[in-house]
Symmetry: T
Subunit: 68 residues, 12 copies
């Protein structure tokens, strides 16, 4: 059988770093979407407060099986 | 708390111009999506009829809070 | 009236080729989304097994009328 | 029948704004090219004089039917 | 002698597939342009009707000898 | 004489539209930089409040003569 | 164990079409490289002779396991 | 009031990792620039010595309020 | 009056180098197109024979006044 | 003397994070390639299992001295 | 110590060629900026007069040590 | 017969200029690779010393016949 996947675009945030921001996005999305399979980092940004990174904002695309 | 956002891609159209096309896309999306926060213009195109711009087609990505 | 469209990103797969992978993605999406109007090919990839293309993976964006 | 289109690249200019610059390019091109069908905005630039935008320069690609 | 080439942008369409759309564009262009030498695929899109690809639209750049 | 130019990146904002956001950036920059000569629009974004565009954010690069 | 992959860039050619050109590149590479796992299409070009596509040239990146 | 921001491009370095390299760039820039507000990661590179990453080099754009 | 420009894409070649390849393209185009005003280098390639650059191939876009 | 470098493309993986994935790729490549000098991160992806990042996949280009 | 660099964008011009335009930009910038370390060519353009290149315009980014 | 080509990425350097840096990369690669056929310039950078270009660094992709 030929699988079909859907990709959605998410922005995860975290004061800790890039990996944690990605994990946060995937973790929340997983509460409603079954079968998340992979992600691609699209953009990394962040907010600065008082000369320090206040939180990281990482945009990802995440793919999941549409046909399950 | 670490926010998570989702971004969707929309194409707004208008015979008037770019800003109005964007406003149309956001206005319609707002009827079903709470918490739209920002947009990014991705592409600007349009249809031509009789040597004039018949309508503008502006593709945007719009982000909204997923965790509210 | 000014139309608004939404674009979604899909990955169709097929052992046969690029066109069939695209058709598979559109065919499955059409079972739940009315008014699919156009698509754009974003990326073409594939898996290799035993020195041959096992299946093609074609990422598309597909647009549909949001205001119907 | 399978249509074929040609795309040409134009730069329209206007002191008024982006939409007017696009309209100027399409309007002039329409005097010699029949069947202009659509355009895509490629780049937006402009000249500055005395701290103000003197004119907008918008590069578009415009497509027309080649087989009519 | 140093050759000079010109590149033009065409959109071929076909209900059959990508290769046929490209062939259609080149075939029609060849009726008026001598010395077409190579092409580059720029974009692949298509129209959807009733949940199926109605026709493929492939944008190419085609180069030909200007100095012949 | 061979001129040299410097390009700086600015983000202008306005609730009115794209052109006004660009004009705002150029107008403020002109108070301290002599000889602004041209600009290029790099990105167009905006903030959304209550389902409407609250303000447009347009990123430009602006070039000025360095050797005057 | 953490895998490491190497990606190489190949150009396959074929008078038949895009899929066959990709298959040709993978087939030849497989005679010397074990463990080819996936590919990504980078560019599609071709040569034109007598107003017809003489052969397709498809550039791919192919990845294989480096640590096997 | 309509804010205007300026964006500058910095390269931070660190033997520890990406986040620390970004923090270093922002920390140093903050000693002379008030009102740093956000950053965008543009490129991630690094130097290798003896088969290990000697230091990470992360290029960012950082935006600050110009009108304060 | 608002000017309109057309941009065409040319490939100049030369065994000598990049500048000469560009000059060749512009020189030949000028024999039929009045009012060439500027160019932009798009791509630089070349052919290799016997381990040396046989000729440089430089793709440019050249703009000229359409309304003169 | 004029140095010449070769760049190869690698994908490192790790369940821990981006930096570790890069280190893994460089570490393995260093067992066979002398003189690795720098790297550039090209793409960051990953696999998801059970709503968590199972491993990070980071594509890099790594450069080494060819003439040593 | 972890170095931090700043990158600025300059456009050098010259009637002679690309290298000379770059040298002109770097030479002028060096009169006020200490520690220029590297440059990257971003764009190459030029003005045409009477069917010949009147001057080359080369945009570069130049990096210098910020912490010295 | 359907040819297959492999593309490798090289960085040539020279204090003289862009063309010489490319020639250096091709010349050295030719000592071990038969059948180099074409190249594409990917990036042009350089090192600055004492306000002058110390050497040019030009990244190219070079293609050669794999099936000979």
């Amino acid at each position: 059988m030929d699988h079909v996947y859907k990709k959605i675009e998410l922005v995860g945030t975290s004061p800790e770093g890039i990996e944690k921001a990605v994990e946060n996005a995937i973790s929340l999305a997983s509460t409603t979407i079954r079968n998340l399979r992979w992600f691609e980092v699209i953009e990394t940004r962040g907010h600065i407060e008082d000369g320090r990174v206040a939180h990281w904002q990482v945009t990802i695309k995440a793919g999941f099986t549409l046909d399950a």
